[in-house]
């Protein structure tokens, strides 16, 4: 077991290192950050001065060595756009907003998907099934930014039920969460539906029915509870999708999370921040995968020896 963990941990570290190399190279191909930082007035001497200040005059491999040396200690340097902040500090500052939105979106999608999934399983083959499917699939069929803008115009501007954008109380979260969460509804609903179908078909449900239990009790108590054990990995993947999907949603609703941060950082050629965000995100996903693997290995000894 320990050997397995050690091996997988090493692999994960390697993956994160590969990521760092990819981002580091990729951002440097995007051009000279000084072309964004400096005003039109700036002459060659200004370019030289600022480039020296940020260490951009060094050869790339030296820059990478410095970057790696510091990154290992969790220091991704200072931001070039948000002066006075470290890149890592910015990520930590914005991450809670993104996690909050992603969490709430997941909640929204589960809240929609559960009844819809149950409905479609219980009424399999009827019109209700089709309606449920269409509701779920609709979320997967709309461009998120378009949905976001339409929702904003209907519910915030015309009806005035919610604020249009920004971050605050729970009312600020609803529209962005629906925009972000609806996309996942179909996937979760499918899971609920198929598990429900399986359980509904199982012996003990038939037995309960024969015993004369009320139908809703059968559905609600026995089936749903047994069907609700969703695989851990599935949620890990969904969480990942939500995190990247938040780039679009955050832009539409001016939600001050990491998605908005990274869009601004790319535009401003703030390499430090782009590197920090990408590596932190990749790190989170890779570590989640590692954790899931270990958990599975713990639960299912066969995996360890594969």
């Amino acid at each position: 077991m320990q050997r397995f963990i050690a091996k997988r941990a090493l692999q994960s570290l390697l993956a994160i290192w590969v990521m760092s190399l990819i981002v580091f190279t990729l951002v440097r191909v995007t051009g000279n950050p000084l072309d964004v930082m400096l005003p039109l007035e700036a002459g060659p001497e200004d370019y030289a001065r600022v480039s020296k200040h940020w260490g951009l005059d060094q050869p790339v491999y030296v820059q990478y060595a410095i970057f790696l040396g510091k990154a290992v200690q969790g220091d991704f340097g200072n931001s070039w756009k948000w002066h006075g902040h470290s890149a890592m500090g910015l990520v930590w500052q914005r991450l809670p907003a993104t996690l909050q939105l992603a969490g709430f979106a997941l909640l929204v999608s589960v809240v929609i998907a559960l009844p819809v999934g149950v409905l479609s399983a219980v009424m399999k083959g009827t019109v209700w099934d089709t309606v449920a499917k269409v509701i779920a699939l609709l979320g997967q069929s709309l461009p998120a930014f378009w949905l976001g803008i339409v929702l904003m115009w209907i519910f915030a501007v015309n009806l005035g039920w919610f604020p249009t954008s920004g971050r605050g109380g729970i009312q600020y979260m609803i529209l962005p969460a629906i925009t972000l969460g609806w996309f996942q509804v179909a996937a979760i609903m499918r899971l609920v539906r198929s598990s429900m179908l399986e359980v509904l078909d199982s012996e003990f449900v038939k037995l309960s029915r024969i015993k004369g239990l009320a139908e809703w009790k059968v559905v609600w108590k026995h089936c749903l509870r047994n069907a609700a054990i969703a695989p851990l990995t599935f949620f890990a993947i969904i969480a990942g999708v939500l995190m990247t999907g938040s780039v679009v949603t955050e832009s539409v609703f001016s939600w001050p999370g990491t998605g908005l941060l990274v869009v601004d950082a790319v535009r401003a050629r703030d390499f430090q921040v782009v590197q920090a965000v990408v590596i932190v995100f990749a790190g989170i996903f890779i570590l989640t995968n590692l954790l899931v693997d270990i958990l599975y290995a713990y639960l299912d000894p066969r995996i360890r020896y594969q």
Binding site: L26, V134, Q140, S141, I237, S251, V266, A282
Partner: protein
Amino acid sequence: MATVTARTLPWYAPPRVAHAWRRVKRYPVVSLSILTFVLVIPAVFAQYVAPYDPLKGSLAKRLRPPAWQQGGSIEHPLGTDKLGRDILSRMIHGARVSLMVSMVAIFVGGTLGTALGLTSGYFGGRVDSLLMRLVDISLSLPTILLALVLVAAVGPSFSTVIIVLVVLLWARYARLVRGETLAIKERDFIARARVAGASHVRIMTRYIFPNVVNSLLVLATLQVGYVILLESALSFLGAGLPRPTPAWGLMIADGRELIVTAWWVSMFPGLAIMLTVLSLNLLGDWLRDHLDPKLRHV
């Protein structure tokens, strides 16, 4: 649970029309017809169906509303955009662009993923563990962010979009095919082929591949819609297809701020995407149920 239906009652014959309808109902008719009319016909016959050149406009005719609205005319049934280009024509040509982008991206990504998945599953061992790590990395990449960076680096173009999409897509095929390959390679007919002296390549292409085609078809169908949506998200972030390509995603992204006064600019391409992707998803679901029940969890 025994149910009594028309079929179990031998003496009852349903009327002909109902019978025919039931047969038709087994296929996703609505989805298929929507796809035919919104996606396939416009895409294939764009230059014959479209009333105007999708790139040619005139500022004098900009932002004309659709025909049934006040100020609209039958000349431009769905109105014109900010630069006076005919929206209907742009949408018709947009169908072609969308179809082409998704076909190319899925073909390249699918081929790559399938090849790697087959190799990985068939040979196992080190190759497998290396490739699967790669898949893990690829699935865990914050790809949209990388797409943004990539586009900033090389500029938006058809090939950039395809590259981004392929990077996004291949891993799913690899994972799917590998899983299936693992199961199939234990089966008797593979062992028999091996005994008969078939080479590895032959076994993979002639014996294993045909058995994963169904799953691939389902995944590919479902992903056409996904790709169309991704393309629009990329356009929104300024990393999509280059202007003035008549692409649905780009059209919505361009008209998004006019949603109050000139709603038609973004609404029609939005509806086109919605109908197409919804139909594709329903079709994919149907295919999944009929071709490959194993895939339910994908």
